[in-house]
């Protein structure tokens, strides 16, 4: 599969950083059938790890019932302009991708 990077937007409101991410991914449940009537194998993001200045602040564990091309937003308590944010995922087939930004 052509793995695409995680798109991240971060906005500071005072010291709170609101981070929004988009992760292009098929998120197949494994229960859908293709045109030939065969099951399409399950393929979904299992774990999303979010780092703030290389420190883990949030981990999301997902099942196949998160929508296709997942959207995820979360908030960091104390952040400053210049801080780095990195979001990476690993799916059930072992594929990975990530994205990073610097807060402005």
């Amino acid at each position: 599969m052509n793995v695409k990077p995680v798109k991240i937007r971060g906005r500071l409101k005072g010291v709170i950083a609101n981070i929004k991410c988009l992760m292009p991914h098929p998120m197949e449940t494994g229960t859908r059938r293709d045109d030939a009537g065969e099951f399409i194998p399950a393929h979904y993001i299992e774990t999303v790890t979010c780092l703030h200045n290389d420190r883990e602040v949030m981990i999301a564990h997902w099942g196949a019932s998160v929508s296709k091309d997942p959207y995820f937003s979360f908030k960091i308590k104390e952040a400053n302009a210049g801080d780095s944010i990195k979001v990476s995922w690993i799916d059930n087939l072992g594929e990975t991708s990530s994205g990073d930004i610097v807060l402005k």
Binding site: E46, C50, H61, W62, S65, V66, S67, K68, Y71, S73
Partner: protein, 150 residues
């Protein structure tokens, strides 16, 4: 029966170790059994064990009352409750009710949003875990297939 159980336990611990190895430095392990569980009460057993569960009005659980497209339903869980370590979203009628679990680190707020699939009209639940108690709120979501507004 006994050997069966211990084998299952062994496989589960292996899986847990594998997750920890692939994410060094983390104390959070994926509760694989909870994602495979077919019923909400089993999900809750695996995730929260013996912790008491209490209904709470202090959880903001945003979800549309009527979802015209069950494939993309926006969901937000937020709370001011202190000491939240985990948030979980569970959809009773989905084949695997557990959609997502969020491990809330000390430096993040208990406020997460995502989009989930809901197969048919269902009770949706948001669980908020603290060290000694689990808080829960639920609401109904109506899914109108074909988007005719039902």
């Amino acid at each position: 029966m006994n050997t069966n159980l211990s084998r299952r336990w062994f496989v589960k611990s292996l899986a847990a170790v594998a997750v920890m190895v692939s994410f060094p430095g983390t104390v959070f392990a994926r509760a694989t059994g909870a994602f495979n569980a077919g019923k909400t009460h089993k999900v809750v057993d695996v995730l929260f064990g013996d912790l008491p569960i209490e209904e709470s009005a202090e959880i903001t659980f945003k979800l549309p009352d009527i979802a015209e497209n069950g494939a993309v339903v926006p969901a937000t869980v937020a709370t001011e409750i202190e000491g939240v370590t985990q948030i979980a979203i569970v959809i009773d009628e989905n084949p695997n009710p557990l959609s997502a679990v969020f491990d809330i680190g000390e430096m993040s707020l208990a406020d997460v949003s995502t989009r989930i699939k809901i197969g048919k009209s269902s009770v949706a639940r948001a669980y908020v875990k603290t060290s000694d108690k689990v808080f829960m709120t639920s609401r109904e979501v109506k899914v109108t297939i074909g988007g005719c507004g039902g």
